[in-house]
Symmetry: C2
Subunit: 101 residues, 2 copies
DNA sequence: TTACATGGTTTGTATTGCAAACCTGTTTTC
DNA sequence: GAAAACAGGTTTGCAATACAAACCATGTAA
């Protein structure tokens, strides 16, 4: 078996969870998104999105900024450099796996 | 966001677990493998491999045949048509995701 | 007989993904 | 101006998971 395939076991588990893959893919494209936009686009419940964002934040993959739009809260999220790189690496690894099966 | 990306949330969870992805990738290539060969190739503990194989068997993705090589047990595994197709679909979905980010 | 491989399976545990319930404030309704 | 409804999230409860360690049944060696 090729190393590309075996190395797949070391894939970034944080990004390998589909909900989070989607969240990060969105953030990768738009640079900044608010909570509700992310929720709609990713098709997640609030609780779910909140939990996933917390994990991504804890890993320093995303930065979360809590502000206000007038008087209502507004949570803005954007990918950090670390998160951006992790996502690029993840894609490379997946791609390499697929190409080597 | 493109549908390819959103549809990623519906990815086959059984195959999306790296250990199982590797197991199935091996079986996809060799048609038939025994337990210990799989263990070495996939780099898993016996317990782990046993558990993953059980899940794949329950989903009818693999067939497990317990025979003997002389007097010692020999467990042979091979992909079913269903498993083969599921793996092909999985790869397509992943590929489509990557290409559309 | 006792020890030690071989080929696995079962058990224990910590982590997870998810939805439902909850919370804090704001706006509307009466 | 109190009560109800809503917006924007967070916390809680639970079932399912991945993993390794312990276990088991059989066969071989000392």
């Amino acid at each position: 078996m090729s190393d590309e395939i075996r190395s797949f076991s070391g894939v970034d588990r944080l990004l390998h969870e589909p909900s989070r893959t989607i969240i990060v893919a969105i953030l990768y494209a738009v640079e900044s998104a608010d909570f509700l936009y992310l929720q709609r686009e990713a098709g997640l419940t609030k609780g779910n999105l909140s939990a996933h964002l917390s994990k991504l934040e804890k890993a320093k993959y995303v930065e979360i900024e809590k502000t206000y739009k007038g008087k209502i809260p507004l949570t803005l999220c954007h990918l950090t450099d670390k998160g951006r790189k992790a996502f690029e690496d993840y894609r490379e690894q997946i791609k390499s796996f697929i190409d080597n099966v």
